[in-house]
């Protein structure tokens, strides 16, 4: 099968991958680059487990051909923490507020919440719920995910969220 090179910046690193035209972005990330933090959930554009940040937009990487992303700047869950391993406030928030149980949806939730907070640094609970409406969680009932994002927003704003996890 014919392939072509796709050049991307992934988590700040410039990469070139040889892919088929039909290769989906999520497969490039997981199989060509070994970045398996981005999960494949429903494969039908519903669940959001495969969410990555692409040129400042949250996208479902199972519904994008890798060739469409030529030249793009991509952030995956692996790129959220600082290079020295210091976790992002969102990752701290998910830990502090028990924002996960099985953890399968977590990478997509984190990356989506990252973009949400970039666009709206101090969202209301309602705005968070609408903002993550493209990400499904089958464990938590969302309560603690919403709290985790509120925790991160507060922390990034220099405040403390004086609430406990459910």
């Amino acid at each position: 099968m014919a392939t072509r090179p796709v050049t991307l910046t992934v988590n700040g690193r410039s990469v070139i991958a040889e892919v088929e035209d039909r290769t989906l972005l999520v497969h490039l990330l997981r199989e060509h680059l070994g970045l398996t933090g981005t999960h494949i959930g429903c494969e039908t554009s519903h669940c959001g487990a495969c969410t990555v940040d692409l040129d400042g937009r949250s996208v479902k990487s199972c519904t994008l051909f890798a060739v469409q992303a030529e030249g793009a700047e991509i952030l995956t869950v692996e790129g959220l923490a600082a290079p020295d391993g210091t976790l992002h406030a969102l990752q701290e928030g998910f830990s502090a507020m028990h924002g996960l149980q099985c953890g399968f949806c977590t990478p997509g939730m984190l990356v989506r919440a990252y973009r949400l907070l970039q666009e709206n640094p101090d969202p209301s609970e309602e705005e968070i719920r609408r903002g993550i409406s493209g990400n499904l969680c089958r464990c938590t009932g969302y309560q603690n995910i919403v709290k985790a994002i509120r925790w991160a927003a507060a922390t990034l704003q220099g405040r403390e969220l004086a609430e406990a996890a459910e």
Binding site: S45, H46, R57, V59, L64, V67, E70
Partner: protein, 290 residues
Amino acid sequence: MIPAPYDYHRPASVAEAVALLASLGDEVRPIAGGHSLIPMMKLRLTQPSHLVDIGRLEELKGIREETGAVVIGAGVSQHEMIASELLAARLPILRETALLIADPQVRYCGTLGGNVANGDPGNDMPAVMQCLDATYLLAGPDGASREVPARAFYEAAYATALHPGELLTAVRIPVPPAGHGWAYEKLKRKVGDYATAAAAVLLTLEGGKVASASAALTNLADTPIWAEAAGRALVGTAADEAAAKRAAEIARGLVSPGADARGPAEYRTYVAGVVVARAIARARSRAGAA
């Protein structure tokens, strides 16, 4: 789920795109956001041999105002429509509608052009465009272009007035008068679902009476439905409950929904009237004096 192999093309202009669409045979499709097409390809419900990527064409971007109209490029995403101050001021019904389409991730990718040109009866923008009496601008090979009113564009499910080799490049929408009332009322089971029934309503008031009204319906037949008679029935009334009820009854007579997981045809016909009446009430409450 892996789509079947195909050949990818990324033209640098609309002219190049339509030349490719016209020359690559029957099994060629344009792709922009891809959020209707790629899921279909993954399920192998469609297997194009060629995709022409129009997603980056600057000619298809942008929202601009002309005399009495707003022109939206086919490549403008739902997210960009939601964020547009021009649309919020001139055509607020578009923001209300776009926010009811899919979810945030899909709205970053999905485009107005794809939503209206795909011919999927579940898409929300076609009925809104019929309600607003929008015109679709089409480009063909060798510099050809023509315009088709949204009200004359849809022929059957996935069948439209687009000829092979043509590309929808923009949508031109007449700006409704300042103070007009609007609503897009969509009944759906959950985020990301198609409408069980949805209605777009636009009206203007003069001295407490409806001076003009237009209504259109989503996902209640093979095509969107411009409910001309329902809109006409509102004119001269106060758009009160009784008038909304009459318009809803007229709308019910125009629909022919199928039975699906969203409910049997009888139920969907019933709620068609419900969403029409709700949309009228909301449009009425938003309308100011002209």
